[in-house]
C-alpha cells in the first residue's frame, strides 16, 4: 500500500487517485469508527464518503504526518455530529448519548458555557498519560471509538465487569483532575 506521504502528495496535486488510495488504505478504519458511533451501515457509508470530501478540502493546506489519525478524526467528528442530529430527531444515536452521560460524571459542575477545547485537550493528554496502558485503551475505545463495554471486553479478552470497573475508576480520576485544575467549576 502507498505510503502516507505519497497519498498526501496526491491530495496536494489534486489527483483523484488520492481518494482511491485513502479508501484502500484507511477505508476499513474509517468505517469502523463511523459504525461504532452510528451503528448504521447506511449512515456510516455516508459518513465515510463525507470524510473523503472533507479530506479533499483540507489538503492543502494541511500536510498531516499521520494520515490514519487525520482521516479518523474527520470521520469521528462527522459521525458524532450525525449521531447528535439523529438523536435529536429520535432516530437512534447509538452509544453517543450514553458516552456523553458517562463523561458528565467527570465534570465537577456541568454548565452550558463553552469549554476551552485546547486547554481541555491538554489536560486530557496528561490524564491519559497517567493511566495504565490497558485502562487507557479501554477509555479510548469507549470514548474515542464509542465501543460498548461488551465489545471492548471481547476485544481485550477480559470480563465486561472489569471494563466497567476500570472505566468507572478512570472517570473518577478524570473528575479529580478537572477539579484540581478548576475546569468545569
Amino acid at each position: 500500500m502507498m505510503e502516507d506521504s505519497k497519498i498526501v502528495e496526491l491530495y496536494w496535486l489534486r489527483s483523484e487517485k488520492a481518494i482511491a488510495e485513502s479508501e484502500q488504505k484507511y477505508g476499513k478504519y474509517c468505517h469502523s469508527i463511523a459504525n461504532g458511533i452510528l451503528r448504521s451501515r447506511e449512515d456510516s457509508e455516508e459518513c465515510v464518503n463525507d470524510t473523503w470530501l472533507a479530506a479533499w478540502n483540507a489538503m492543502p493546506p494541511h500536510r498531516p504526518s499521520r494520515l490514519a489519525t487525520f482521516l479518523g478524526k474527520i470521520t469521528r467528528r462527522i459521525a458524532l455530529h450525525r449521531a447528535e442530529k439523529n438523536n435529536a430527531g429520535k432516530r437512534g444515536g447509538g452509544e453517543v448519548p450514553l458516552a456523553i452521560g458517562e463523561l458528565e460524571e467527570c465534570i465537577p459542575a456541568p454548565r452550558e458555557d463553552v469549554a476551552d477545547e485546547a486547554a481541555l485537550a491538554t489536560l486530557l493528554d496528561r490524564f491519559l498519560e497517567g493511566l495504565p496502558e490497558m485502562t487507557r485503551t479501554m477509555f479510548l475505545q469507549r470514548y474515542w471509538y464509542l465501543r460498548t463495554c461488551r465489545e471492548i471486553a471481547r476485544e481485550l479478552g477480559v470480563g465486561e465487569s472489569r471494563v466497567k470497573v476500570r472505566l468507572h475508576r478512570a472517570r473518577a480520576q478524570l473528575r479529580e483532575m478537572l477539579e484540581k485544575e478548576g475546569i468545569g467549576l
Partner: protein, 436 residues
C-alpha cells in the same frame, strides 16, 4: 462544560494513543488469572534476624515498624531449618516464594542462577549464597526494587519471591504506595469469607462497580494511616484453638500487572497484609462489613463472641445448596462406626421429605458454637451423645445429635438447635432404619 465537550476534545489527544487503542474487531482469548493459593502469599514470615533496609525516606509518622528477619543468617548458622516454602538466598538475603503471576512481561534482567540444593534435610550450613529450593535463573521484577522482589520464570509467567526482612515502614503509603503503587495500579478486588476459604468452599466474588467508591476510600485509609505489626493485632481464642476465628474476610487486591495483595479483615476492624496491619475507623469498618456481608456472605463470627451472623439459610441453602438436589438419603448410626460397620440405610421419600422440612424450619435459626451444644447436653465431647450421619447426594452429610442438634459435616463448629417435629420424626425414622 458538558460531557459533550470532553467527547469532542478527545479528538485532539495524542495520536499514538488513538492508534494504539484502535479496535481490531477480533476477539482476544480470555486469560484467567491463576488464583495462587500459597500459604505465604505476600505474607511475610515473622522471623527473627536482620536484613538490608530498602533505600527510601518515608515521612516519619510515629516510630514505624521494622519487619523482623528470618532465622537464617549466613554469618550465624543456627540449628533451625525452614519449612519447605520455596526460597533462595541472594546477596545474603532470603527471598521467599509468595505467588505465581501469569504475566511473563514482569521478568526483568537476569541476576544469577540458583542451585536447587535446599530440601527438608538441609542443615543450616547448607543455606549458602545462591542455594535455593527450586533451581533456576533469578531475575529482577520490572518496576520493583530488587532488594524487595525477585522472580523466577515458568512457561507463561513468573514466580514472585520477596524479602522484607529488616524493612522499616511508617505509614501505609510506604508499603501500599511506594512499593506496590496500589492506588494507581489496582485492578480488581475479589472477596470471600475467611471461613469459606478455610473450609475449602472457595466462592470468591469480584467487587463490582457499585463498590468502587468504598474501595477508593479504603485505599486512601491504607495510604494515610500508620502501620502496625500484624502480630500486635488483638485477637483471642474464644471458641477454638486458633486465632483464625477472629478472621472475617479475605480480600485479594490484584494489580494491573497481576501481582496480588491478600488483605485480611479481622475482628475489631484490623486490616492486615502479611506482617503489616492498619486499624480502620469504626465507620469504615462497619461499612466494609456490611458490603462484604452482602457481597460474599456472613463472616460467621462477630467479635461479640456470639455467632449471630450466620443462620440456617447461610449454611444449608447458600453453602450446601440444600434442600435442592437431594436425590437420595441414607443413614448410619454411631454404632456403625464404633461397632460392626454397616452401609447407610436408605431413608426413602419419607426421610427426604422430613429433611426438607427440617431445613426449612432451621432457615432463620442462628448458628451457635458446638460448645453450646456440649454445655447444654452436659457432654465433654460431641461423641458423648448418640448421633446419626445422614448421607445426602453429592457427598453432603447432615449430622443429627441427640437432643435436637443439627450440623453439616465440614462446617464445624457451627451447630443448630432444632426444636421441631421434623427433627423428632427424622430421629425416630433413623432409629427404625438402623435398628439402633
Amino acid at each position: 462544560m458538558m460531557g459533550r465537550d470532553i467527547l469532542f476534545a478527545l479528538e485532539h489527544v495524542r495520536e499514538d494513543y488513538i492508534l494504539r487503542a484502535a479496535p481490531t474487531g477480533k476477539n482476544a482469548r480470555r486469560v484467567y488469572m491463576r488464583w495462587a493459593v500459597v500459604a505465604a502469599c505476600l505474607c511475610l514470615c515473622v522471623g527473627t534476624l536482620l536484613g538490608v533496609m530498602l533505600h527510601h525516606e518515608p515521612a516519619p509518622v510515629g516510630e514505624g515498624i521494622t519487619i523482623p528477619q528470618s532465622e537464617v543468617n549466613l554469618k550465624k548458622p543456627t540449628d533451625g531449618m525452614y519449612d519447605m516454602q520455596a526460597l533462595f538466598i541472594y546477596n545474603g538475603r532470603v527471598y521467599r516464594h509468595v505467588q505465581n503471576v501469569d504475566n511473563p512481561s514482569l521478568r526483568g534482567r537476569y541476576l544469577a542462577t540458583v542451585t536447587g540444593l535446599i530440601d527438608e534435610w538441609t542443615k543450616a550450613d547448607g543455606y549458602v549464597e545462591l542455594a535455593g529450593v527450586t533451581p533456576g535463573e533469578i531475575y529482577t521484577v520490572k518496576g520493583y526494587d530488587p532488594d524487595f522482589m525477585l522472580c523466577q520464570t515458568y512457561s507463561g509467567g513468573v514466580s514472585i519471591y520477596t524479602c522484607t526482612e529488616g524493612l522499616t515502614v511508617y505509614t501505609g503509603k510506604d508499603w501500599f504506595g511506594d512499593i506496590y503503587r496500589l492506588r494507581r495500579e489496582l485492578d480488581t478486588v475479589v472477596c470471600e469469607s475467611a471461613v469459606c476459604r478455610n473450609l475449602g468452599y472457595r466462592k470468591p466474588v469480584e467487587m463490582g462497580e457499585e463498590h468502587q467508591g468504598l474501595l477508593r476510600r479504603l485505599v486512601d485509609v491504607l495510604y494515610d494511616n500508620p502501620l502496625m505489626h500484624t502480630a500486635d493485632v488483638p485477637r483471642e481464642k474464644k471458641y477454638s484453638d486458633s486465632f483464625n476465628e477472629n478472621r472475617l474476610y479475605v480480600m485479594e487486591m490484584t494489580l494491573e500487572n497481576g501481582i496480588t495483595l491478600t488483605m485480611q479483615l479481622w475482628c475489631g476492624g484490623y486490616l492486615t497484609n502479611g506482617a503489616v496491619a492498619i486499624k480502620l475507623d469504626e465507620e469504615l469498618y462497619e461499612e466494609l462489613l456490611t458490603v462484604l456481608g452482602e457481597t460474599c456472605g456472613a463472616p460467621w463470627y462477630l467479635e461479640s463472641g456470639d455467632i449471630l451472623a450466620c443462620t440456617g439459610k447461610d449454611i444449608f441453602a447458600d453453602f450446601y445448596d440444600l434442600p435442592g438436589n437431594i436425590r437420595e438419603a441414607g443413614v448410619q448410626s454411631k454404632m456403625s462406626w464404633y461397632g460392626e460397620y454397616r452401609a447407610p440405610a436408605p431413608l426413602g421419600e419419607e426421610g427426604i421429605e422430613l429433611i426438607y422440612r427440617l431445613i426449612d424450619e432451621l432457615r432463620d435459626t442462628p448458628a451457635v458454637h458446638q460448645n453450646v451444644m456440649l454445655a447444654h447436653q452436659g457432654w465433654e465431647r460431641e461423641d458423648d451423645g448418640m448421633w446419626y450421619w445422614v448421607h445426602l447426594s453429592d457427598e453432603r452429610i447432615m449430622i443429627l445429635h441427640e437432643g435436637g442438634w443439627v450440623e453439616m459435616a465440614g462446617s464445624y463448629p457451627l451447630t443448630f438447635q432444632a426444636k421441631s417435629e421434623a427433627f423428632d420424626a427424622l430421629w425416630v425414622l433413623c432409629e427404625r432404619m438402623t435398628d439402633e
